[in-house]
Symmetry: C2
């Protein structure tokens, strides 16, 4: 049994007017007036005002951790309409250093390096932890949606023996004296597990040793991966992506409503059918002739979809085979294109996915055609030697999702402790 | 919208008797009799029997992926009471190699190395994937329980700059030319996040470079971590552990009932109050005088708790400070012991947890007392410099949980693709 405690959360105070209550939290702010001191207490549910005497109140420094026992008293001027009067205040621990900026101010003026260098304390600012509350609720929505659709959660190795998936951008590890690598994705494992569970998902870290120093690249991020068998083609995967994105938006709105309000999040409407455009048609519209979309192209296409269909989401399908990994399934009637897709959300690629090859002989032919040796892929190919159904899947970057949702200027604002080219602490 | 398909899962066939149906899956087994061939089809929901003519049926090799269209016909002798007659069979892909053993046999005779070396195909055996279905359902129960209790999910770095938590047993990484390490636990991050969210959890991989070659050690495992603030002492953490374990057992029973039945899992009853014994008292009972429990001690104590309290769970509290990490909170009235605990489940340590230090000066004193320099801990200590509440938490090894639940002889049977001293593929 959870032990009963007398603690009341700030958000529940309104149910205790006239009673003696005990609240606990951080001293968010102290305001000394001539005859009275207001202490604003912050807990995981919100803020509450405590009214006390100025005498001796200088020991209540901001960010002290306190328990306050007093009377819950109605006051329309107090936050939430209730304040605590006649308080007894007990300091549980006092800070030995001030935060790098005042956490009680409604806006944050500090730059990103200051915020990230001091994440353990700066994330206490309601505006700065709100994205992470939205992330947490969104991941729950991802899992709920896929569980409802019959997917099984898996946990796969983050250390692999060969750097097969995309070449050079891997981190090397000393694994008991052998060279190994951090996994760039659970791609091969999730495909093999389609042979076991048919439908699988994983939510976990992936690692990219890409020396990009941009507002949208991280060297570790949280990849929301899914893979499913017995599809007709990539459109069956896109249908699941649509459900997932709708489920994540709904879960974020329901589960992190206050965080959303604080950040003035405009939740997207997810159309029943997300509009789609083929890569070749996109290039025609863009008046371009390239094998991949540039960030500017993605923004233009997103604006076009909003204008044309009123949709903040757009599937771009049929990316050229030359720009997709070797396991990509070609488009049967135009084999220079692929049964793949990206989902653009508010101008940025959010999801990448598609149909994969499923026959052993198609894999060996694809590797041969790309001039790659079979040997490093043996353990990957094994699943296909034993009979695999037509299948496909996708990966969604959690931090990118939250960044787009909140309109943040940098993916690091949606990452508790980012890891990148320069950042390895805190 | 999820596109409609004609596919019916094997478990749903009984609702379609007399109708034309389409099922898809793997050919689990082919049995040729003189005048008839029985094909057993396996999909994610179970098995179904297809009745066809022996003529030409030799091309239906086991593990072929097929779609079968035919009539759902009641037959009390068929699995599930329904079979498919007058089938049209389409092979979607054919295996190019046989599995290392017959997947259709009711028991598995193969040894663990064969199973693990060929995991992508051997896990298709219902007995071998059942533990993983139980794992998936258990993790869902972990998250549901903690979400209900107001915990926020976090995602923390798996790469850290210093090997601070437990010394030598870390994997080194080349991080853009700098030396870094794989995280052994999210310990420091989850503690810091108590300062932000009060209650947090994470389900993710951790890495231990321990050169142990045993049936219960893995170099990567899935750690289910939680941490909460505003506790009185470690007993508040134990109360949460009790809820979590009960939630995991219930979720596994509800969400993976068939897997449990197949493995004849006996779910534990989780007492409202899990019995506990202090470490000093345990040593007295064991007639021993050591600073830690041996595996034999743990088994003896588990049996004692079962005998004495009818409980398959036992908390051992108060482990000596000398055997606990520096951030452990001492037991106030007997400071050579600690406010910590292990939870034993069926003879094995399943959970480790306790109350942590929360005052900055207690941390610096603890490190000084252990003769450790402060410098590598600066970024960890920062959270405590800014005011932290009394807090504590725990970690539960998912694979160990599943191993105990299923009575498996090796933790690798509860790991899809184990990583250890010797194993880095598949």
């Amino acid at each position: 049994m959870i032990r009963s405690t007398n603690r009341v959360l700030t958000a529940e105070l309104r149910n205790h007017v006239g009673q003696t209550v005990e609240v606990s939290g951080w001293l968010h702010r102290r305001r000394d007036l001539k005859n009275v001191t207001f202490l604003i207490l912050r807990d995981r549910a919100g803020l509450a005002q405590v009214v006390t005497s100025p005498t001796g109140s200088e020991r209540y420094t901001e960010e002290s951790v306190v328990t306050v026992r007093g009377t819950a008293t109605a006051n329309t001027h107090a936050p939430g309409g209730v304040e605590i009067t006649s308080p007894e205040i007990r300091v549980l621990s006092a800070p030995v250093a001030p935060p790098p900026f005042d956490l009680y101010r409604p806006t944050v003026q500090a730059g990103l390096p200051t915020i990230l260098d001091n994440a353990d304390v700066t994330l206490r600012h309601p505006l700065l932890n709100a994205p992470h509350r939205l992330s947490a609720a969104s991941v729950a929505g991802f899992r709920e949606t896929l569980s409802r659709l019959g997917f099984t959660e898996i946990h796969t190795p983050k250390v692999v023996s060969s750097a097969t998936e995309s070449g050079a951008n891997v981190f090397a590890i000393d694994w008991f004296g052998r060279e190994a690598y951090l996994a760039q994705s659970p791609q091969f494992f999730k495909q093999a597990m389609v042979g076991v569970f048919e439908r699988v998902f994983e939510t976990g870290p992936v690692f990219r040793a890409e020396p990009h120093d941009t507002a949208r690249h991280l060297a570790q991020y949280t990849s929301l991966d899914a893979e499913l068998g017995f599809i007709t083609d990539h459109r069956d995967v896109m249908a699941v992506v649509r459900e997932v994105v709708a489920g994540m938006a709904a879960a974020a709105a329901n589960g992190a409503g206050e965080a959303a309000e604080l950040l003035e999040v405009k939740f997207p409407e997810v159309p029943d059918e997300i509009p789609e455009v083929h890569f070749a048609e996109a290039m025609r519209m863009l008046g371009a002739d390239e094998p991949d979309l540039s960030p500017a192209h993605e923004r233009w296409l997103s604006e076009w979809a909003l204008r044309e269909y009123g949709s903040e989401f757009l599937f771009v399908t049929g990316y050229p085979m030359v720009k997709r990994p070797f396991y990509t399934h070609p488009q049967p009637d135009r084999p220079e294109y692929s049964n793949s897709f990206d989902l653009l959300f508010r101008g940025l690629e959010l999801v990448t996915g598609g149909q994969r090859l499923h026959r052993y002989e198609d894999y060996t032919a694809a590797l041969e055609q790309r001039g790659e040796p079979l040997e490093p892929y043996q353990s990957y190919l094994s699943a296909f030697a034993h009979g695999m159904p037509p299948h496909g899947g996708f990966a969604l970057g959690l931090e990118r999702w939250t960044t787009r949702l909140t309109g943040a200027d940098n993916v690091r604002r949606a990452t508790l402790f980012p890891r990148d080219l320069h950042r390895l602490t805190p």
